[in-house]
């Protein structure tokens, strides 16, 4: 058995534990350990991408207990993409944090590693209860990271964030108890088979469990009625933490994809149909609200938080169209939007530090230092974010719109996506013109921090690279979508004895 698959979980877990044990060691050592672990995770992510790229499933049975009795870790294309994305994002955030944010509170690096361990575990696990455990790991790390740096705003936002997520955990357990009571298993592949074979009298309970799970993942992903914790929490967090949180909503999306395409996706009338029916209108409303929120926000960080909501809406609406093309397009948009949300959170900090008054609030109209450099960076980043050529946002949006043409509902998506893109452009150009397009420089600009500036430029450049290498990336994502829509392969890999026929699902 190849033990490499458990490394993305074990490595940050052990690194974090070590950093806690030796917290008296010089700070540079803590940083170095964090960098070494995260850089190794980036390499693991690339390894995972190339391993899963063959189309095979890599299975790791913890303790060598055969599925469905033990816990399995499963690496497929989707998990590999999420692993690589998390690692790259984590590395960028860690680099940015090393410019000083990590020293504003205790144990930043240990918490960061625990957060990565929880994220990687959630992406890899093939067991529903294990998914709950990893959710809790990543959440408790995120609670502490959110509060990193202290301050009233963070305490207030933290309280809301923690309480709503604790309610979410309780709901998660209720859904798990119901599913276990009905089927007697928690292994996702096994559960998928049992759910498909369930007698019709169990159908209402199964539907209830699936909808409770949708609520839980909806809290994580921030779907419309469950998103009001997000703007305050994300705009209160320190910049590198908020940038890392860009992946947290995507964990919810990942879980929705995994659970509703695999566990509830089989059978003649899949249980997931009810959930998809709910998702489509809610996603469109989320998208619309995101657009309005972007236009109505009072600071660049709040604006970015609404951009996150907007991206969640776009993703879920595209996913619920349910074709292979739309799923691939959604995954491309997922990569792009995660990267750009992180860029904007970092940029808000970078620009805020250069402004004379008001940090990142729009109401303050003081001059800004290093106007040309900052203005150019903001201009390019805003173009990338709004989905204008030549960046990946344009490729992903064009692909989404093209894919949505195949279904009759697609026209709704066209309208909402294009309208909210317009709102984003208006909000970004308003910000840009009020901050940069005014005569007069600051008499004494604050010193320019070259490291963070270069980092953010490189991240925008990565987005450009994603567009340049769009063709191979799209090919990979199309194969990922096909793999997701044929869960028979996953089940056959986890449970070789089950011997089921490969069948396609349609959400």
């Amino acid at each position: 058995m190849n033990h490499a698959l458990i490394l993305p979980i074990l490595l940050p877990l052990l690194t974090g534990a070590g950093q806690l044990l030796f917290y008296r060691a010089p700070f540079a050592l803590q940083r170095l350990l964090g960098f070494a672990s995260t850089a190794w995770l980036v390499l693991m992510g690339i390894w995972a991408l190339s391993t899963a790229g063959s189309g095979d499933y890599l299975i790791y049975q913890a303790g060598d207990w055969p599925a469905p009795f033990g816990i399995v870790l499963v690496l497929d294309r989707l998990a590999a993409i999420m692993l690589a994305l998390t690692a790259i994002l984590g590395f960028c955030c860690l680099l940015y944090a090393s410019s000083g944010t990590d020293q504003r509170g205790a144990h930043f690096h240990a918490l960061f590693q625990f957060q990565l361990a929880g994220l990687n575990g959630a992406f890899l696990t093939g067991d529903l209860f294990n998914l709950f455990v990893f959710f809790e790991i990543l959440l408790i790390a995120s609670y502490a990271l959110l509060l990193h740096g202290g301050g009233r705003a963070r305490s207030r936002a933290g309280l809301h964030y923690v309480i709503i997520n604790l309610v979410g955990s309780a709901l998660f357990l209720i859904a798990l108890g119901t599913l276990y009571g009905l089927s007697g298993t928690l292994n996702m592949a096994d559960l998928a088979l049992r759910v498909a074979e369930a007698p019709p009298e169990d159908a209402p309970l199964l539907a209830a469990a699936s909808l409770i799970l949708l609520v839980v993942f909806g809290i994580k992903a921030a779907i419309l009625p469950l998103l009001f914790w997000l703007p305050r929490a994300y705009s209160a967090a320190s910049a590198p933490v908020a940038a890392l949180f860009a992946i947290m909503t995507k964990v919810g999306i990942y879980a929705i994809l995994r659970i509703f395409l695999l566990v509830f996706g089989l059978g003649e009338t899949p249980v997931s149909e009810t959930a998809w029916g709910w998702l489509w209108p809610l996603a469109l409303l989320t998208l619309a609200l995101g657009g309005i929120g972007v236009l109505g926000s009072d600071s660049l960080r709040t604006l970015t938080a609404y951009l996150v909501i907007l991206s969640v809406g776009t993703l879920l609406a595209t996913i619920s169209l349910g074709t292979a093309a739309s799923l691939g397009a959604a995954l491309f948009y997922l990569i792009h939007s995660t990267l750009m949300a992180a860029v904007f959170f970092l940029l808000a900090d970078l620009l805020g530090q250069q402004r004379e008054t008001g940090y990142d609030r729009f109401s303050a109209t003081g001059p800004i230092g290093h106007r040309w450099i900052m203005g150019t960076l903001f201009f390019v980043a805003a173009i990338a974010m709004a989905g204008l050529p030549p960046f990946a946002g344009f490729v992903s949006k064009a692909w989404i719109l093209q894919a949505s043409l195949e279904s009759a509902q697609g026209l709704w998506l066209w309208g909402v996506v294009l309208a909210s893109a317009l709102l984003v452009i208006i909000a970004a150009s308003r910000t840009g013109s009020s901050w940069f397009w005014r005569p007069g420089d600051m008499a004494k600009p604050y010193p320019l921090e070259r490291g963070p500036l270069t980092l953010v430029s490189i991240m925008v450049g990565l987005n450009g690279l994603l567009a340049i290498f769009g063709d191979p990336v799209m090919g990979y994502l199309e194969l990922t979508a096909e793999q997701l829509l044929a869960p028979g392969g996953y089940i056959a890999a986890v449970l070789p004895e089950a011997g089921i026929s490969l069948e396609e699902v349609s959400p």
Binding site: F129, V133, E136, I140, Y143, L147, G151, R152, S155, R156, G158, L159, H160, V162, I163, L166, V167, S169, A170, L173, I174, L176, G177, T178, Y180, G181, G184, L186
Partner: protein, 112 residues
């Protein structure tokens, strides 16, 4: 036994949800605790309620399902840790914001 169990669950959940919707952090935390008790009992019941059956195969005629017990144990540990965390956080917020309202500000005090 089932009826008593179900009523207990119902009462715990009702009280938990009611307290959860209050405006003070202390009652909200009490509500969360009651809710997590209810959830733990519910998880336990997902392995079916049987009396006099040990969770080890072969000791008696019938044996209880050991998995829900393991799940409950995990859930209790996690729930306990989370409650401890949220209590500390609520204290921190109460000290920093000078009140224990969940929104960090008391609308009635402002009006007075």
């Amino acid at each position: 036994m089932e009826l008593l169990y179900a009523i207990t669950l119902g009462v715990l959940t009702t009280c938990g949800v009611y307290l959860l919707l209050r405006a003070r952090t202390f009652t909200v935390i009490l509500g969360l605790t009651l809710l997590s008790h209810a959830v733990n009992l519910y998880l336990f019941a997902s392995g079916r309620l049987v009396a006099g059956a040990p969770a080890i195969v072969g000791l008696s005629q019938r044996s209880a399902d050991p998995l829900p017990q393991a799940l409950v144990l995990t859930a209790i540990v996690i729930g306990f840790a989370m409650t401890a965390f949220v209590v500390v956080l609520a204290l921190k917020a109460a000290v920093e914001l000078r009140n224990d309202h969940v929104d960090g500000e008391n609308p009635e005090e402002d009006r007075a």
